[in-house]
Amino acid sequence: MKRLDQLAEETARMLARRSSRRSLLGGIGALLLGGAALPLLPVARGAEAEPAPDRKAPQGGAPAGAPPGWDDPASCNYWRNCGVDGYLCACCGGTQTTCPPGTDMSAVTWIGTCRNPADGRDYVITYNDCCGKSTCGRCMCNRNERDTPLYQPGQSNDYNWCSGNSVANIPYHCTTVRIVGTAG
């Protein structure tokens, strides 16, 4: 026990003899600065998703005329949802562009355009349904803008687009809203 005391005392005294208060401050300063500079190093950031166009939008407040929730994928007012007739995948365990686990994305879709209030441009949106599980039941959204009657099937959202796909199973679960381009 005494030997342990002696060891602790010797170590403490040696530390006190060899280090000044200034060097301690300097060390902490270097640590802080170095830590802050670490994220600036050129490491690969390929995995980071590019921000969606709606997130690049203006800082500070919604654009004029945009309803509340215009930039929230889980809101029916989300600008890309202008033609949705179904459940939003963003509320069902997926995102606005990906299917929830356990469902397959239908390749065939109906397609329309939605205006992004952030830049005032029209974007071409594909409404890919996620299929293979029974209906999600959350965030029902039925806006139908530019929806066409059933006899113009390519732009009609009243079809069950899940049944048009040989990969996806028939049951409809929810709908994604994917940007494929701008409509000029």
């Binding site: 390749a107 065939v108 879709t109 109906w110 397609i111 329309g112 355009t113 071409v124 594909t126 066409t148 006899y151 113009q152 390519g154 732009q155 048009g164 796909n165 040989s166 494929v180 381009g181 409509a183 000029g184």
Partner: protein
């Protein structure tokens, strides 16, 4: 003052007469075709045959051109004859695996307008015959 009002009325009248929105053929393809035929025209192996191998050979035959303009997606599309003709020519040049021959004859609005008057009801049988002809 009166002439200015008249001018304004004429301008408003002209704008009303124009089609709602004219898009590039690539955008019209996205809006009116891609939902089923997919972005590259490959379609679905079981129900929706790829157009990549047939656009050019069919377009070289009068019966093939007639078929392509009368299939439901073309003849019953909400696009105008002029927009459809531009779209057909764009598809031939952008979605075909078969090279476009130098003597390729572009689709014209008049040709589109004539053919689409008689939409096809039985698509599959006629397509099979055309495949025999172009083999």
């Amino acid at each position: 003052m009166r002439s200015r009002t008249l001018f304004a009325l004429v301008v408003v009248g002209l704008c009303g007469a124009l089609p709602a929105r004219a898009y590039e053929p690539a955008v019209n393809y996205q809006l009116h075709c891609m939902g089923c035929h997919l972005a590259d025209g490959t379609g679905d192996a079981e129900r929706l045959p790829s157009m990549r191998g047939t656009l050019v050979p069919f377009s070289a035959l009068p019966a093939g051109r007639d078929y392509l303009l009368r299939v439901p997606g073309v003849s019953q599309s909400p696009l105008s004859d002029a927009d459809l003709a531009v779209l057909m020519n764009w598809m031939v040049r952008n979605l075909s695996d078969v090279p476009v021959p130098a003597n390729f004859v572009d689709y014209t609005p008049a040709e589109v307008g004539r053919a689409r008057q008689q939409p096809l009801a039985q698509v599959t049988a006629l397509r099979a015959r055309l495949l025999e002809l172009t083999r």
